[in-house]
Symmetry: C2
Subunit: 319 residues, 2 copies
């Protein structure tokens, strides 16, 4: 069973981990990851979502923080601070090596997708990890303080500024990274991970060709709600939905996908806590699976992965 | 008393430290450092000699290794190795931050001299630290294995290949870094540190304008022998002298300077162990100071610094 998953950072990484372990010896997982919140720091190319998924799949991620590597140290960052460099974006010593290596390989002319494969493979990742695009795309957000780079708003300003608009700079001319369309075409299930629909999944589906590939492929597309009991499990997705006028609930997320990407979704997975919303989501024309979607332990991740895979098998393929 | 010192790596750094501490509240030290063995690693600009002098002057250098920072950790390097990067050149986590910051500032358009000043100042270095040039100069050495980059020969191949020729790529068009000529012109003493005369001091004196500035300035120029009792205290200077047909002794070094840079040196400092060579060096027209030049402790460094400064004061100024 070939599965393609679209993922952002922490939430996406957890389900990607579950799918990966559930698929061992049973098929191949390709994870297509948001790169619109990549940034340049100290001259280095940092890909926060790619790294979160990579470290998680490799079993190296820090569980407490949710990002970065377990057992990380911060000597380089402290030294950078001493040199007067901006250190609002935390870079651990091991993590720094990832960015140094990625930047060096990119400077040598290797595309981001190739470099991503090299890094993931070196860390022992079994799944195929792909950036949504080798091309530069950057999320920018509009606030009362003007347009800000996504990480400036997300990390540096701690998401305090309400958003009125989100844009993905460079998205129009971006192309799916090599391998993305093939992975979608050969998948028997496409999974939209419980990532932020606006700034994680949004950019991926906005790369010209990716949504079209999903619509043209036989695999049913299912999404898992990142909103549970009216709140984002992590990050500002709930506030962002509210600022942009969407309903802050699993049903709101389903409706957002249905409106923005008609006919894309075949199924929608909600948490048991949101069971009462199932009817409203079915009314959008989606099949609904109610499951335990809050993943803390590895077991919970793999359990949800298995549940999603089994359910996905039962869904009708696209005509 | 303004003093200008020319220095390479470890030996130069030790005397620079001694001069710096001996001069506290009594004048200003400018250290002009070899950058011909700079290299690019993982896309980063590494300046081994500048960093050795900087860390030593800041009191942060590792005493055991002689290079790098005390209490250094190696997490990033291990990760780089895992990624398949070449790791024959050791970069500690804190040290890596120096290279990341330097590279970022250079990419922003800051010249190496400006960046060097920023880094040194951030680490609390009191002396003025200058690269010999903002321009790219690279030492290459000829061996039976062909021409090699200096660090390739020095670090990676551990200096096993005998040298037949040394060249400084880019030296003809290089210019002294801003501040170098002024420091020389306003100095009352110029000190050539006990660094490798061929690949540390050699490049500095070969930057068009630096030797001329020394010859045109009033300050007497004194050199301290890096060879004691027929051996280099550190590094391959002794073998290099032998390969290139020079005598491996303090007298051999004095002769090399006298031949390559006639009238440059006013004085030459040798270790007590080499007292017997004083007459031969005086025969070259140089004044000779016999002193304890083997510096281990900080006290020994400062003592030699004081001795050199006092002796330097007694030497005749250039006409």
């Amino acid at each position: 069973m070939n599965v393609v998953a679209l993922a952002g950072g922490v939430g996406g990484a957890k389900l990607a981990f579950g799918l990966d372990r559930a698929l061992v010896d049973a098929g191949q997982l390709t994870v297509v990851v948001n790169t619109a919140d990549d940034l340049e720091l100290h001259g280095l190319h940092v890909s926060p979502d790619l790294d979160t998924v990579m470290y998680t799949l490799a079993g190296l991620a820090d569980r407490e923080r949710g990002w970065g590597l377990a057992g990380e140290t911060w000597h380089a960052l402290k030294t950078l601070k001493r040199y007067g460099a901006e250190t609002w974006f935390q870079l651990g010593d091991r993590d720094l090596a990832t960015h140094v290596r990625r930047t060096a390989r990119l400077a040598e002319g290797a595309p981001l997708g190739v470099v991503t494969g090299e890094l993931a493979s070196a860390l022992g990742v079994h799944a195929t990890l792909l950036p949504m695009s080798d091309d530069r795309v950057r999320t920018r957000v509009r606030t009362d303080a003007g347009w800000l780079d996504f990480q400036e708003w997300f990390v540096r300003r701690r998401q305090v500024d309400p958003l009125t608009e989100i844009t993905f700079e460079g998205i129009e001319t971006s192309r799916p990274a090599p391998g993305v369309r093939d992975a979608i075409a050969s998948a028997s299930l496409a999974v939209i991970c419980p990532s932020n629909p606006l700034v994680s999944v949004g950019p991926i589906l906005s790369v010209p060709g990716i949504r079209e590939a999903l619509l043209g492929a036989p695999a049913p597309v299912v999404a898992i709600s990142p909103i549970v009991a009216g709140r984002a499990l992590r990050g500002p997705a709930d506030r962002m939905l509210a600022w942009l006028g969407a309903e802050v609930s699993a049903a709101g997320v389903a409706q957002l996908y249905a409106e923005r990407h008609p006919t894309l979704l075949g199924g929608f997975v909600i948490d048991r806590q949101d069971e009462a919303l199932a009817g409203r989501i079915e009314a959008l024309g989606l099949r609904v699976l109610v499951a335990d979607t809050v993943m803390e332990s590895d077991d919970e991740r793999v359990a949800l992965g298995r549940t999603v895979l089994e359910w996905g098998r039962s869904l009708p393929r696209r005509a």
